[in-house]
Structures are given as C-alpha cells and as structure tokens.
C-alpha cells in the first residue's frame, strides 16, 4: 500500500509540485489580503471602542459559516476560480488576525505607553515604534492560526476550478481513488505543519537575534518575512496570469464531476493540444450541470461535453412526454438563440439514464424492464445521487411514468452508489447506460420500456465567440465525432473507474491506438 503510494507519488510528482505551488499562492495571497484588512482594523478597534464589540462578535460568528456553502453562494456573484476562492480564504483568515492584533495592542504594559507619551511621540509614532512591535508576537500567533485554517480551507478551491492540492482530492473523490485523495491530503497536512514551523522559526529568529546582541537588527528579519510573502504573491501573480489571460491563445475546457465527463473533456483537450497551437487549460470536475453551464455562460470555461437530453430538460427546461422528436436540432437552435452557444457534432453514443439492479436479483424476479419493477417497488430501496433525485428527468419522472413507490430513497455521491448496492444497503441504483462499473458490480440495466427518457447523445458545447475566433477547434475535434460507441464508452469508463487508471492515460492510449493523433 505504502510502496504503491510512493510509486504513485513519483509518477505524479511534477503535477504535485505545480498544485502545491498553486496552493501556496492561494494561501499567501489570502493571508496578505487578510493581514492588510485585519491589522489596520485591529488597530482601529483598539483605539476607538465604538465598533469593537460588534466587529469581534461578527468575526467570531463568521467562523461558523461553512466554507463550502459560502463558496457556492459566491459563485453566481464572483464567478469561478481565483476570485471567490481568495475572497472566502481571506474572509476566514481575517478574524484570527483581527482578534490577536486587538488583544496584542490592548495588553501592552502601561509603562511603555507612558514613556512614549512622556518622550513626546506622536500618536502615529507611538503606534509604529512602540505598540505594533510589542504586539507583534501576538499578531504573528494570529497569523499562524489563520495560516493553518487557510491551508485547510484552500482545498475547497478545487470545487470551483482555482487549482491547488484540493484538485487531487476532488479528482480522487470523483474517481473513487484513495491514492489521489492521499496525494492531496498528505501534502496539505504537511504544508500546514511546515508553515506553522516556518512562522515559529521566524519568531524564534526574531527573538534569538535579540539574545545574541549582534548587529543584525530584528527589523531585517521582519523585512525578510514581508519580502518572502511579497515574492510568493508576485510569483502567484505571474504564475496565474497566463491562465486567466484571454488575450493569449488559450482555451479552457471544463467538465462535470464524473469520470465520463473527465474522459471526454480530456479527449478534447488532447486533440486540441495535438492539432492546434492553442494552449489548453483544464478545469475539470466543476460540479453539477447548472454550475458548469453557468461557467460556460460567464466565459470561465469555453467548452465542455454535454448530453442532449440534459440540455433539453435541465437547462432549457422544455417539456418532455416521450413524443417529441428531433431533440438535438431543437437544443442546437435554442442554445444558439438563447445563450449564443454552439453544439458541435455528437461523439456517437448516448448515455441515457435508467435504473440498475443486481443480476441475481433481476433473474430471481424475472426483471427485464422498468415496468417489471413497479409492482415490487414498495419493498425496495433506491440509491441515487442528489442531482438525480431533484432533476425533472430523474426520479420524479420515473415515479410518475411507472408508478414507483419506493420504500426508501438514499442520497449518495455517484461514486458511492455501487458500494451501497454491493453492500446491499440498496436494491436499486440510478445508473447511466454507459457506466463502466455496471459490469464489475454485476449489475444489469433495466430497459426504459416506456421511453420516458429522451436521447442523451453526448457532444461538445462551445461558446460561439470562441468558435468564430478559433474555427480550428471544431476541425481538431472532428476525428472523434460519431466514432465513440456506447460499448467503447463503457470500456473507457471502466478503465478509469475499475482499473483506476488516470483519464489522461486512458485517453492517450485510446487516441494513439485509434490513430487519431495527427501524424507528425
């Protein structure tokens, strides 16, 4: 297990370094902002008691707000990526620094203040020469506290595409890969320890150069520290700027948070990288349809794979009773008119939805299609992801059409559904028809005999402006249009989900073996 992990680590070492650097950048920038806000605010409330009680109370309450919830609420306002993440991290870092700045200033022995006044210091000079230096150890311990919190919370940045070590964790969760989760979690914990050690060393250094009575002024270390922070911040600026810079030839590809989306997005990315000179940025695992669609509308991503049925029902909220025809054409037209988004051609398969049961259970009860399941449903439990429970094309429609009345509905994450049914915690799961796990879990899909589901053909959705600007994208993707069958997709999915291979490796192998890379 450990050896396997070390091997895994060495394989992913370069991306680990990159993610670590992103993580540090997020943390450093947030701490810088938080300090810039909290320290002056702390000074203000130490001087002027008016807002003190209110601010400190509000600060302590702020710490109880769940960070993920706050992030989700901010996305519509601030968009995806760097901005909302920095905002949230800064928000949580402010209070410990504020509290400690205030406490530090409050607890300065009176004799020093008296001396400063008696010697004729201006109020400002008293602050700079006496109060802040004496409160510094307290402020630094606030900074330590804030740093530990921020490093932890920064892992959520991955949910909205800001990078950092959280990327490994969300990927690991999406792919149910514990190695990936550890690859994110262990360095995060180590980083928290390292930062804490670093700051305490800085404190000691500061103290020791006092003890040694050398010529080195303690201030030098303060500048060193501030300089270090500054370099990190600048590094972060230069590091992230090319990614955010729309002027350079960059295309940002997004995906929802399940393996098939990862594979399709990665496939598009590799083809574009292979066949064009565009630089590709991957913002995978963004989350639900609504979030990814919103990101596309905001221009935070340029391209992602979507399913016709999902677009028709969830995004366009069109009616569906099983009789409508030509969904793909309607979706194409509506996306163009309403959103200025362009659908390219289908990849060739349809990933519809249905319910799956264990093979032995199906044989014992002679189940072939969903209609067969209806009479038994009141004794059965169903496990499904949250999206499936709420979406109009999910459980709601199924119940209506087939008259299901399940004993119990369990909400689980997509990757845990199979564990749930394997451990017999549920009898039925919601499943996609191309799901790679169906085979190994020994499940069979029950046929949607009443045709309540529309076609779920998968195809790339692209911003029209990007399509106009870079027509080469469509050309680069054309080799996979209509090429991927359902069977092929199940095969690719199963390589990722069951064999634990990385989507990038699976895609690369597929493209190479199918001779879809350009001949160079």
């Amino acid at each position: 297990m450990i050896i396997e992990f070390i091997y895994f680590l060495s394989e992913n070492f370069s991306s680990l370094i990159q993610k670590t650097f992103e993580h540090i950048s997020l943390v450093a920038a947030s701490l810088l902002f938080a300090s810039a806000i909290a320290i002056p605010l702390g000074i203000l409330i130490a001087r002027f008691p008016a807002m003190r009680a209110l601010l400190l109370k509000a600060g302590s309450v702020s710490q109880t707000i769940p960070s993920l919830a706050m992030l989700a609420l901010l996305v519509p306002v601030l968009g995806l990526g760097f901005m909302p993440t920095i905002f949230v991290l800064t928000f949580y870092a402010i209070y410990p620094i504020l509290r400690n700045t205030y406490t530090g200033l409050q607890n300065i022995p009176f004799e020093y203040l008296e001396a400063a006044e008696g010697l004729g210091f201006l109020s400002f000079q008293k602050l700079v020469y006496v109060e802040l230096p004496l409160a510094l150890p307290m402020i630094i311990s606030g900074l330590r506290l804030a740093t530990a919190t921020t490093i932890g919370i920064a892992t959520i940045a991955a949910f909205i595409g800001a990078g950092g070590l959280g990327d490994f964790i969300t990927q690991g969760l999406a792919l149910n890969d514990s190695n990936l989760i550890l690859l994110g979690a262990i360095p995060t914990a180590l980083m928290a320890l390292a930062f804490d050690y670093g700051i305490s060393q800085f404190e000691n250094y500061f103290y020791r150069c006092k003890q040694k009575t050398t010529n080195a002024s303690a201030w030098k270390y303060k500048y060193l520290f501030l300089g270090g922070m500054g370099i990190l911040f600048l590094g972060n600026y230069f590091f992230l700027t090319p990614q955010g810079n729309k002027a350079s030839k960059v295309i940002i590809i997004g995906s929802k948070n399940f393996p098939e989306q990862n594979i399709l997005a990665e496939m598009m990315a590799q083809l574009i990288e292979d066949r064009t000179s565009l630089k590709v940025i991957r913002r995978f695992n963004l989350g639900s349809t609504a979030l990814v669609h919103q990101a596309l509308l905001n221009g935070e991503i340029d391209l992602y794979p979507e399913y016709v049925g999902t677009a028709y029902l969830t995004v366009l909220k069109e009616p569906w009773d099983g009789t409508q025809k030509d969904l793909f054409i309607k979706v194409k037209e509506n996306y163009k008119n309403q959103f200025n988004l362009r659908w390219l051609a289908s990849f060739g398969f349809s990933n519809s939805q249905s319910l799956a049961v264990r093979k032995d259970f199906a044989e014992a009860n002679n189940l072939k299609c969903l209609s067969d399941l209806a009479p038994l449903s009141k004794n059965l439990s169903v496990a499904a992801p949250p999206e499936f429970l709420k979406r109009p094309d999910g459980l709601i429609n199924l119940k209506k059409a087939y008259g299901f009345n399940f004993k119990n509905v369990i909400q689980v994450s997509p990757t845990l559904m199979y564990v749930t049914i394997e451990h017999q915690k549920a009898d039925i799961i919601a499943s996609f028809t191309t799901d790679g796990k169906l085979r190994s879990a020994n499940l069979i899909i029950l046929k949607d005999d009443k045709n309540i589901y529309p076609s779920y053909q998968a195809a790339p959705v692209l911003r029209e402006v990007v399509h106009q600007k870079y027509p080469q994208i469509e050309k680069a993707l054309s080799p996979i249009f209509g090429v991927i069958s359902e069977q092929k997709m199940i095969d690719l999915n199963s390589q990722v989900e069951e064999q634990g291979q990385l989507p990038s490796a699976v895609v690369h192998k597929f493209l190479r073996e199918s001779h879809l890379f350009s001949e160079k």
């Binding site: 004799e111 001396a115 006044e117 008696g118 004729g120 201006l122 230096p133």
Partner: protein, 250 residues
C-alpha cells in the same frame, strides 16, 4: 542667576471628578534655572500629578503654568516634551524591543537627526553614565541590571540636551548601593551640565542629598519649600518636622 525663574506655577488646582478631594489644591511654585528641586511627600500627595502638569501629560483644572515667562499653551507641547524636558520614569520604561542605542536615540530619531549624529550622541551619553559603548550599545534592556537600565533611562532623558530633567521616583526600585551610585551621578550631571532638575521621591535622605531646595507636599498642597537647613532648623508644620526627624533617624 539663582533666582531666575524657569518655570512658574500659579494657583494650580487639579480635580479628578472621581475623587472627593482635589489632587492639587491651589498650589503655587517657582522652579529656578539650574537648581535641583526635590519634591517629597507620601503617596497620593499629588507629586507625580504635579510633574505631569509640567510637560503637559496632565492639564490643570485651574491656574496657570509659565515656562520662561510664557504660558505653556503657547508652546508646541510635543516639542516641549522632546527638547525642553527630559523625563525619567519610575518604572524606567525602556522599550524592550529596542537596543540601548535605539532607546537612547529614539527622541533624536523622532526629530529626524542623522544616524551619525545619533550614534555619536549615544556614545557620549553612555560614556557619561559610565557604560562602555562597546559593551552596551547593542544590548537589549532585558540584558541589563536594574541600575544599568535606569542609567540608560537617564541617558535617554538627556539625549535631546533638554534644559530641565523631570525625574519621577527614578531610583525607587533599586537596591541601596546602586541607588547611592546613581544619586552621585545626578549630582555630577547637575554640576557638569547645569541642568535644572525636578526630582520626586518619598525618601527624605535622598531629598537631603540631591535637593538645593526641598518641597514637602501633603494632600495637594506644599507645606514648606526651602533649603534643607531651613527645613531642618525651622519646620513650619508638624508634618515637616516629623518627616525631617525620620530622615535624620536613618
């Protein structure tokens, strides 16, 4: 020269609303140029308040303070504190995060003197208070003994070459030997630099040793102000008499 008035307080009262009796009660006092005036009294007699009135850390409820014949209000109060008065505190109050050099030169640095000037001045003062600059320049206060700390405190008060030193029970916390040494330094300081010194103590023998004139304070009033001989020879009140005898007893 002896009678030239440097500072004059007229009918000063200081009343804190939270106390029943006035801290200073219609008090008048002249401080002469070049003299050492020791103010002695028990705690709560108002002597520290009197000292703080002089450099504007407190303002009187009524009465007037004149410095060199002009009202204290006509001066820039920060300028007075930096350049006219030097203050030596009871609790010393050396800044713990600054070296001896930085502590002594802080007032010079506040008034933007050049680093070279500061360094020279600090060395001069360290030599005067008999602390070798080579050893002490870059030490921090917590590396000094109590006596050394207060020597530095005195040097800090002298840094801006102020005319008048205000000393608020500066040697109260020191042991007898160190205190005696430092008292000798003050006498030397007065003779060498001709500084005017206002010195607060509750120790009558210290008052006798240092004071050209001694003011005995009780309950916000000056009971008697005179030379030690007069104080001893003809005490005006029973309190003064008792105080003088306690002093002689030691």
């Amino acid at each position: 020269m002896k009678n030239k008035k440097l500072i004059e307080l007229k009918n000063i009262s200081k009343i804190y609303p939270e106390r029943d009796i006035p801290t200073l009660d219609n008090l008048s006092l002249s401080i002469h140029e070049g003299e050492s005036l020791v103010i002695i009294g028990s705690s709560g007699s108002g002597k520290t308040t009197l000292l703080k009135l002089l450099n504007g850390l407190e303002t009187p409820t009524s009465g007037s303070i004149q410095i060199k014949g002009k009202s204290i209000n006509s001066y820039d109060i920060l300028d007075l504190r930096r350049s006219f008065f030097g203050y030596v505190f009871q609790k010393i109050g050396l800044f713990p995060h600054m070296t001896v050099k930085e502590n002594i030169s802080i007032v010079l640095r506040l008034t933007k003197k050049s680093p070279k000037f500061c360094e020279e001045r600090v060395c001069e003062l360290l030599n005067f208070i008999r602390l070798s600059p080579d050893v002490y320049l870059n030490r921090y206060p917590d590396e000094l003994s109590g006596g050394e700390q207060q020597r530095v405190g005195v040097a800090r008060a002298l840094a801006a070459d102020s005319e008048c030193l205000l000393m608020d029970e500066p040697f109260g916390a020191l042991d007898a030997v160190t205190r005696c040494e430092l008292q000798d330094e003050i006498i030397r300081l007065k003779e060498e630099f001709k500084k005017t010194i206002v010195f607060i103590t509750h120790d009558i023998s210290e008052a006798f040793k240092l004071g050209d004139r001694i003011a005995v304070m009780q309950k916000g009033k000056i009971e008697q102000i005179s030379s030690k001989e007069t104080l001893y020879g003809s005490p005006k009140t029973p309190f003064v008499e008792q105080l003088v005898q306690t002093g002689l007893g030691i």
